[in-house]
């Protein structure tokens, strides 16, 4: 279970998140929705640790992790697919995958690599290509697969549907659901695209002005025009 309590975070002297609290049950698929600039990406960065929270608590299965550096949080079971994907451009597809599994034993790494290449055949075809040579959709799949390589308990995704063509978007939503169902991964998905969020997740938290204002089923968010207008700027 991932619990966030009174988390204050931001850049320099500016706070983006004002004492935000939320919890995501183990094995849950939770979307985080909200307008541009309400702090969704900052929340994910504060969870993985590339932005260090100023106060408050982040607990993973009861363990306090808010004082840990990003690489320690990653090794304690959190994986992150950032906005823009951040594929290592000069590394091959295989190295992009391997680099995320170095916290694990050689055997576990090899068997996970095989699983991942079987699940995403396009990566097997492109395994020797440089990360930068892949298309946007292929990079997104690689970013998902890279996150999978560390066999995380919690997977954080920041707008994986952004700038990707529709057929690949469906494939990504399916992959997210499969990771959750087959491997029991907890999913935290930040999205602007409500349809994609509903395809990937059952529940959603709505963030406004740095706080959680509502929890609801994504199916209900899809039909509620008033709510979309008020909180999502649709």
């Amino acid at each position: 279970m991932l619990e966030v309590e009174n988390l204050v975070s931001g850049y320099g002297r500016t706070n983006i998140l004002h004492a935000i609290s939320l919890s995501v049950e183990t094995g849950e698929r939770m979307a985080i929705l909200g307008r541009n600039g309400v702090g969704k990406s900052t929340l994910l960065k504060s969870l993985i640790g590339t932005v260090r929270p100023k106060s408050g608590s982040v607990r993973l299965d009861g363990q306090e992790i808010s004082h840990l550096a990003a690489h320690e949080r990653a090794r304690s079971g959190i994986a992150y697919v950032p906005q823009g994907r951040d594929i290592f451009p000069t590394l091959s597809v295989l190295d992009n995958l391997r680099v995320s599994g170095f916290g694990r034993s050689v055997r576990a790494r090899a068997s996970m690599l095989d699983d991942v290449l079987t699940q995403f055949p396009i990566l097997r075809d492109k395994r020797s290509a440089q990360g930068s040579s892949l298309s946007g959709g292929q990079q997104q799949i690689l970013a998902l697969a890279r996150a999978l390589m560390s066999d995380p308990k919690v997977l954080l995704l920041d707008e994986p549907s952004e700038g990707i063509q529709p057929s690949t978007v469906d494939q990504i939503a399916t992959a997210i659901r499969e990771m959750n169902v087959q491997r029991g991964m907890t999913i935290v998905l930040v999205e602007q695209n409500l349809e994609f969020a509903a395809a990937a997740c059952d529940h959603a938290l709505i963030i406004d002005k740095g706080e959680v204002v509502l929890k609801l089923r994504t199916a209900d968010a899809l039909t509620n025009r008033e709510l979309q207008h008020q909180y999502l700027g649709v």
Partner: protein, 289 residues
Amino acid sequence: MKVDQFIVIMVSLLSSVSLLVIVSLGLALAFGMMGVINMAHGEFLMLGAYFTITAVNAGIVLPVAILISAIAMGGLGMVIERIVLRQLYGRIWATMLATWGLSLLIVGVVQLVFGTSSNGIPTPLSTIHLGGYMLSQYSLVLIALAGVLIATTYLVFARTPYGTMARAAASLPEMAAAVGINVSRVNMITFGIASALAGLGGGLLAPLSGVSPTFGQGYIGDAFMTVVVGGASPLLGASTASLLLGGIYAGVSNIVSPVAGTLALLLVSMLVLRFLPTGLTGLWRKARQ
């Protein structure tokens, strides 16, 4: 041209190339992998040379003495990364100033300990007679070692987990941390390797000339020029730039004179940077896209 003359010219050409590789590889690595322009690189070479002659004078055989210098400089480099550099990442001017200050400090300390006069050890191995010419066996050893250095560095960075992590951390440090890489430790190791290469280079050069506190200044210009002409990719850049610049220097030196060789080297560097501001590696990147 007779065969013996041809061989002698080829050896002198490869000697120039290998010297550039030996003096510039550590500098290229720190720049390409960490964005650190190490103004104290020449002094790292000089310290490596002093460690080597001190060890040789203490009765240790030269190859072991050079290895000890490399290891000592590697350790010193890691300490310097921890104390000085890690506070300054991303601030290239601050890094340059700090390492420049460090270079003055090293020169001062070496002057205190060893004095300002030149020390030396004899060039090992003998010469080979080839027709009417003489070839130094040590220069053949340096040529082979330059190749070995490039190959080893390549294998370390292309084939080991550490190397993959270092390349990831070099391109996207935040993302590298998010996949579980301890970027700070990787940087410490990388600067340690760069420093060890400088120590090794200084040790290899020690038998070729007198070693004084200003020893590094004789090589630092060449080293910087090689790195700038080579561009951001440390291994490919350093090796192709060494080939180009070393080849031109040796070629023109042999045909005209060493002064003309130096002039030609400068001219070619300026031309390369005029048309390829990102260095030779930039050209290679463009061609791949």
